[in-house]
Each structure stands twice: as structure tokens, then as C-alpha cells.
């Protein structure tokens, strides 16, 4: 496991503990800023979007092939 990924996993565990130990209203308000900003900054062109998803799917398939 590379160092960067290890640090990301540590953060995931830290954040999960934060969510578990704080009221829903508190963590969800913070989390919504991330979720809403992704949606509000999105390119709404369907053709571009579907093209990007196709490229990503092919990349995922290649990764899966390598794994197998």
C-alpha cells in the first residue's frame, strides 16, 4: 500500500469516527458543502458527460483485466 493511499485510509477512518461521535445535523451540514459543490460546478452537457463516463469505464476495465 503506497504512503498516499495509506494516509487517505487513515483520513477515512478519522472522518468515520467524527461522523459517529457528532450529531447528524453537524456532520451532514459539513458534508453537504462537498456534495453540493460537486453538483453545482458540474458540466451539464450530456454528450460530454457520457463521453467521459465511457473513457472512465474503459480505464476501469483495463485495470480489472490487469488485476485478473
Amino acid at each position: 500500500m503506497d504512503k498516499n493511499f495509506k494516509q487517505r485510509i487513515e483520513f477515512v477512518r478519522y472522518w468515520a469516527d467524527y461522523v459517529k461521535t457528532h450529531p447528524n445535523k453537524v456532520w451532514s451540514k459539513q458534508q453537504n458543502r462537498i456534495i453540493n459543490s460537486v453538483l453545482r460546478s458540474a458540466d451539464q452537457n450530456p454528450k460530454t458527460y457520457l463521453k467521459i463516463k465511457e473513457i472512465m469505464k474503459n480505464a476501469d476495465n483495463n485495470t480489472e483485466q490487469k488485476r485478473i
Binding site: M1, F5, R8, I9, V12, R13, W15, A16, D17, V19, K20, T21, H22, P23, N24, K25, W27, S28, K29, Q30, Q31, N32, I34, I35, N36, S37, V38, L39, R40, A42, D43, Q44, N45, P46, T48, Y49, L50, D60, T63, E64, R67
Partner: protein
């Protein structure tokens, strides 16, 4: 986090994101049509607090007939949704039958969108047969067992998916059925990853 997890039902009250509102709008329609479905994957991790964004929500629906599909898409269109892949409903249904996903968004938008698929294997069928009920601020929708989702996320294997699996495990550590999680992991051949990431 305040959640109630009892009798295959998880109750959660929280501030709704734009994504939650979109899911509620969509599932109100599919609930009324009595179509068996489960929301799976990334959105479920987000619903329970994962700190990342996403632009799509994955849903398995039962294999419905062409007529039932036409009723679904008409109802969605009447409620200001559209299919972004194609507006030809026959083509949409063919895509589903070919195990391809179709994407439903608010009219003339692409994001967020619901990625609808028919289950293509036993894992997908099991998800529908063993669904959990989620009550989000008193609105009901359905998801597959959390144990199944953790194992499937490990199977998908990207850093984002592994992080989602670890998040769900941490949130539901006390409620999870460890034997069930091991069974799903064995079926999907990810037992080694459970050990690697200290899951289970």
C-alpha cells in the same frame, strides 16, 4: 451519528444535500409504481457520512417487462426527468436488456443522474431479494445489505471503492453480521482484501 438499525430498516434524520433531494424525488416515483429496486454503491456510503462527492446514483431494478418500462419512463418524463443516453424508449429498454445502464437526470441536465441497471448476476439478484429499508427524514427507499455492499466495493477495487468499504465498515461496525460479510467476501473472492485492510 444517530441511526436506528432494526428489523432490516435503517432510520436516519439529517440535513439533506442536493443529492438526497434528487434521490427522494426519483424514489417517490418508483415507489408508487411498485418496482422492486435497490440503491447501491457510492450514494449509500455518502448517505452515511462519507466525505466525498459523486454525480451518479446506482440502482438495480428488477427485470421488468417492456410495457412496465414504458410506464416508468413516461411517469419519469411527466415529472421532469429524461434519459440522457437516448430519448428513444425502445432503445433505452434494449440497453437494459443488454445489461447496459441508462441514466436518468432532471430534464436537459446530466448531473446528478440515476444509473439504472437490471441485475446481471446472482449477486445483483440477491441484492434485490434481501433489501433493506431506509427511512431518510421519513422518506422510504431501499438498499442492499451493508455487508454485501462492503464486499462488492472491495471487489470493484479502486481506491475510492476501498475507501467507501472502510467507511461503511467503520460506521456499521457494531450492527454488521460478520459471518454474512465473510460469506459475501468469499463469493466475490475478496477475502484477502478484507485481511489486507483489516475488515471483518
Amino acid at each position: 451519528m444517530n441511526i436506528k438499525f432494526k428489523n432490516k430498516t435503517i432510520e436516519l434524520k439529517k440535513e439533506l444535500s442536493d443529492l438526497d433531494k434528487f434521490v427522494i424525488k426519483f424514489t417517490k416515483i418508483i415507489n408508487k409504481l411498485n418496482i422492486n429496486y435497490v440503491i447501491i454503491s457510492g450514494y449509500i456510503a455518502l448517505l452515511f457520512g462519507r466525505s466525498r462527492g459523486t454525480e451518479d446514483i446506482d440502482i438495480f431494478i428488477e427485470k421488468i417487462s417492456k410495457e412496465e418500462y414504458y410506464e416508468l419512463i413516461k411517469t419519469l418524463e411527466d415529472n421532469n426527468f429524461w434519459c440522457i443516453n437516448t430519448e428513444d424508449k425502445q432503445e433505452q429498454f434494449s440497453m437494459l436488456q443488454d445489461n447496459l445502464a441508462i441514466r436518468i437526470a432532471n430534464k436537459k441536465e446530466a448531473i446528478p443522474n440515476i444509473e439504472i441497471k437490471f441485475p446481471k448476476d446472482q449477486h445483483g439478484e440477491d441484492s434485490l431479494d434481501n433489501k433493506l429499508t431506509i427511512k431518510l427524514n421519513n422518506h422510504i427507499f431501499y438498499t442492499s445489505p451493508i455487508e454485501s455492499q462492503i464486499a462488492f466495493k472491495l471487489y470493484l477495487g479502486s481506491p475510492k471503492d476501498i475507501e467507501d468499504a472502510i467507511h461503511l465498515l467503520n460506521i456499521f461496525k457494531k450492527q454488521l453480521n460478520k459471518n454474512l460479510l465473510k460469506q459475501y467476501a468469499k463469493k466475490l473472492n475478496v477475502t484477502n482484501l478484507m485481511e489486507k485492510y483489516k475488515i471483518g
